[in-house]
């Protein structure tokens, strides 16, 4: 297993390099200009100077090389400096965002907590709700509970967050006034009251996100349970005289969880990726909002870095999912 993991990690390196090149070239070829959002009152000569100050005068391969160096050498060194108080990266140019003229990774570090709080909590809430629903729906297939669950999950799956988000704002913020419609990113939890406020401001975005994730996961759980419920070993377990509780929750559930765990692991990178639309609707201003504003502003270093971080996470969690699969299911061996 260890050998397999190491092999996969080694293969991941050229894969990631290739991905970074593809992202860079895609952004390079895409139309757009970092000056496009500037007012028209800024004359063209000034725009040209601004572009050059951003480094846009250099040829593509030099800019790609610079980015590689900054991302793979300067940024890790900088991280070392922070952790150990050294000064390896001093004076070296870091990856700089065009919009803010500040290091991209600093902003990413600033945004991660917001995203993890909201999207991460939504993910956990969704898992906690989805698994029981999926299990019970499968066990009582075609019961009214199953039918209702199917209906709700289908609605949750099909209604986009830009609709459901605004809908819950209108209901809970505008009409009832129970929850704030704008997430306060400067809020820090220091005591019970501020914790309650944090819960209140997270409630609406978490609800909207959890509805979507629950819908997907509970369908997975249900179908995986259904696959197992008709297997021979289940009949054997029942024939042995085991109680229904034990049959379902021990034998069937454990086997059914294998694919679901994989799906959950594969979904983890999306937590870090943030939820672009939900973050925008509630002004959570996490990673998703960072990405979309960077795209609008043609802030190429920011977009490149963010997308590449997502790529790393996806590659990594694919590997984790595969390894988990091997651990959970003894029939699967990679060696």
């Amino acid at each position: 297993m260890l050998q397999y993991t190491v092999r996969r990690l080694v293969i991941a390196i050229p894969t990631l390099l290739l991905i970074s090149l593809v992202i860079f070239l895609l952004l390079e070829l895409a139309p757009g200009d970092p000056m496009a959002q500037m007012p028209l009152t800024i004359p063209p000569e000034v725009r040209q100077q601004m572009r050059e100050a951003l480094g846009l005068g250099d040829p593509t391969y030099i800019r790609f090389g610079k980015w590689l160096w900054q991302f793979f050498v300067v940024e890790p060194l900088h991280l070392l400096d922070i952790v150990f108080g050294t000064s390896f990266a001093e004076g070296q140019q870091r990856v700089i965002s065009w919009q803010t003229r500040s290091p991209v990774m600093d902003i990413v570090a600033q945004r991660i907590p917001q995203t993890l709080w909201v999207v991460g909590v939504a993910y956990i809430v969704a898992i906690l709700i989805a698994l029981p629903i999926g299990i019970y729906s499968a066990y009582r297939q075609y019961s009214w509970f199953d039918q209702a669950g199917t209906f709700v999950t289908m609605v949750g799956f099909s209604v986009p967050p830009f609709f459901s988000g605004v809908l819950v704002i209108v209901i809970f913020s505008v009409t009832l006034g129970w929850f704030p419609s704008i997430y306060d990113t400067t809020h820090s939890v220091t005591d019970w009251d501020s914790f309650v406020y944090q819960l209140r401001q997270m409630f609406l975005p978490v609800m909207v996100l959890a509805l979507q994730i629950t819908s997907q996961l509970s369908r997975f759980m249900r179908s995986s349970m259904l696959d197992n419920l008709n297997q021979d070993y289940v009949r054997t377990a029942r024939a042995k005289g085991l109680s229904e509780r034990v049959v379902v929750l021990v034998h069937v559930l454990r086997n059914s969880l294998i694919p679901v765990v994989t799906v959950i692991a594969l979904g983890v990178p999306s937590i870090f990726g943030g939820a672009i639309i939900t973050e925008q609707v509630f002004k959570v201003n996490g990673i998703g909002q960072l990405l979309i504003t960077a795209i609008y502003a043609n802030d190429l270093p920011m977009v490149q870095t963010l997308v590449f971080i997502f790529a790393i996470l996806i590659v990594l969690f694919n590997l984790i999912a595969d390894v988990l699969y091997g651990i959970l299911d003894p029939r699967i061996r990679y060696d």
């Binding site: 000056m35 496009a36 000569e45 100077q49 003229r101 600033q110 400067t186 406020y197 925008q280």
Partner: protein, 568 residues
């Protein structure tokens, strides 16, 4: 926000005195929302309005424009003019005097060295300063004494108020930015996020593209101001959400630039938490007519260049007919509501510079048809499209992707087809359309279409530079990498002569007269530009926020020091 509301209540209870007499910081906290989030606190590194306006709460220019477009001194004692001797008789230099005793927010004195440094910072050739145009024609900026600065221009400058005037050109502290000149400018993250200023507030926490926390500047020159102790400046989301937060839920006190459909804004305001306020500046939505041939049958590099005049848009009658067919009032009603006014002018404001040209305001479809008929454009083959000498009146009409603009396109297409002009519509993503990439065929500069629609305006109150864009030879062309501001490829020696005269004239009334004439040459005399809507600015304030004066000539937050809380 609960604790804040409580704080506010407490503050309001204590400070029961009339707000104008309030002490600094007595009105607690104010929440401002900009749906475009500020990225940086420096107008010199970003031309974006959101950044300029956020920075305007912290760093200030020598003088600002008021809501009527008049100049008022801020850091300067007075606005220098020829009359008070501040501007030299030959118009080549201007001398500013700082108010004595000004302090930066860190407690050090503001001196003429800071002003000189500001110019050096922006005029550095490698800095990529976004406000470079403000310093156009500046030869030297010299400190005469600790409080006096003289700006010398390379030639006579009838309007010498480019540098250090208005929200785009504030004074930065020399000590803080000393190591940030030229290519080093972007590496000064700390200085760019936490500038030391003279304004009513100073930054305590800056989260780029998210939120800014500020507190009252302890060294602000008026000891009674600002009334608010702290500010949260939130960014992000969309205009509708920002409007909702002020007008419907009351979470925020001020929302900037609500570009919303009129009915949406109205229904939000009906909730009674606040009001939408509007003011008009110089932004005009217009249709620009291409006087050159954009036909794709021409070789690349010759399309839309002066080498090939347009087959029919060079005919005044056609351009006039296109303008006559448009019902501008209906466009305003559908697209802008209280944020728009029908206009026939390229320069709609300030009042002194605006022509009383109103002849385009009434739609005249029959007149337009008759005009085309008379000029020889008739529909001989019965396909509904007029033609002359075998050339069909068929236009490609492009603009950027935007709901209101597509509504306008649909309406105007309908009117033009009614008078027998076939219209094909096209919309292009704004970042491409306005991107200026010389390799893209879709930029507004390249103008590979017959007519195009967008909005433009000018900074400050003087339209000289704006009108000078239409100088002969200033058109985008392959030789200049398709850069240039004369989008229509307009060329009239008489116009250029008048421009030269404008550049020599200092008396404001005479300048206005010339500017009005120039405006009319482009609009009602030639219909090279077909103005549609004078677009105002709509923002929203909560009913409990006082002192707001919406200003389109400077930063919207220009008088944030005077804002206060209305009890109740």
């Amino acid at each position: 926000m609960k604790t804040r509301t409580a704080l506010l209540g407490a503050a309001a209870a204590v400070a029961f005195a009339p707000a104008a007499m309030a002490e600094r910081g007595s009105d607690g906290h104010v929440n401002i929302i900009y749906w475009q989030a500020p990225s940086i606190m420096s107008p010199y590194l970003s031309g974006g309005t959101k950044d300029i306006e956020a920075a305007s709460m912290v760093i200030e220019p020598l003088g600002r424009y008021t809501e009527t477009g008049e100049m008022v001194p801020f850091l300067a004692e007075e606005i220098p003019t020829v009359e008070n001797g501040g501007v030299s008789e030959d118009l080549t230099s201007i001398t500013w005097k700082l108010k004595p005793g000004l302090l930066w927010s860190d407690g050090t004195p503001v001196t003429s060295a800071d002003v000189v440094f500001t110019a050096e910072y922006c005029m550095h050739p490698e800095g990529g300063c976004a406000q470079g145009a403000k310093f156009d024609g500046v030869e030297t900026v010299e400190a005469i004494d600790d409080l006096t600065v003289t700006v010398t221009f390379t030639g006579p400058k009838p309007v010498p108020y480019g540098p250090f005037m208005g929200g785009q050109s504030p004074i930065i502290q020399a000590a803080q930015f000393a190591d940030c000149l030229g290519a080093n400018a972007p590496s000064c993250t700390e200085a760019n996020f936490y500038p030391i200023g003279t304004g009513p507030f100073r930054v305590t926490d800056f989260k780029p593209n998210d939120v800014i926390e500020m507190e009252a500047n302890p060294n602000y020159r008026d000891p009674a101001k600002p009334a608010f102790a702290t500010v949260t400046f939130k960014g992000g989301g969309d205009a509708a959400a920002a409007g909702r937060a002020v007008l419907e839920t009351g979470e925020f006190d001020y929302a900037w630039n609500l570009q919303l459909a009129p009915d949406v804004l109205q229904s939000m305001a009906a909730a009674g938490q606040g009001e939408a306020i509007s003011a008009f500046g110089t932004l005009v939505e217009r249709i620009e007519v291409n006087l050159t041939d954009p036909s794709s049958s021409l070789p690349e590099g010759e399309r839309s260049t002066v080498a090939h005049p347009h087959p029919f848009l060079t005919d005044l009658n056609v351009r006039k007919a296109l303008s006559m067919a448009i019902d501008r009032d209906l466009l305003v009603e559908i697209g802008y509501g209280q944020a728009g006014r029908a206009t026939c002018n390229l320069v709609p404001n300030p009042a002194l510079f605006a022509s009383d040209n109103t002849d385009c305001l009434t739609q005249d479809l029959e007149g337009a048809k008759a005009l085309l008929e008379e000029a020889g454009y008739v529909d001989t083959n019965g396909d509904g499209v007029r033609e002359k000498d075998g050339v069909e009146l068929s236009v490609l009409y492009q603009t950027s992707t935007n709901a209101v603009r597509q509504d306008f396109q649909a309406l105007i297409k309908q009117w033009w087809e009614e008078i027998g002009v076939q219209t094909e519509l096209r919309n292009i993503d704004a970042s491409v359309f306005f991107g200026g990439d010389p390799g893209s065929p879709d930029t507004f500069q390249k103008f590979y279409a017959d007519v195009e629609m967008y909005a433009n305006n000018f900074d400050g109150t003087d339209p000289q530079a704006y009108l000078a864009a239409y100088r002969c030879g200033n058109e985008p062309k392959p030789a200049t990498g398709w850069q240039g501001e004369n989008i229509n490829r307009y060329c009239d020696p008489e116009y250029d002569a008048l421009l030269d005269e404008l550049a020599r004239t200092a008396v404001i009334e005479e300048r206005a007269e010339i500017a009005i004439k120039l405006n009319e040459m482009l609009t009602k005399e030639s219909y090279t530009i077909i103005p549609l809507v004078d677009r105002g600015r709509v923002s929203a304030r909560s009913n409990t926020l006082g002192g707001v004066v919406l200003n389109t000539w400077d930063s919207e937050l220009w008088n944030v020091a005077d804002w206060y809380r209305i009890d109740g």
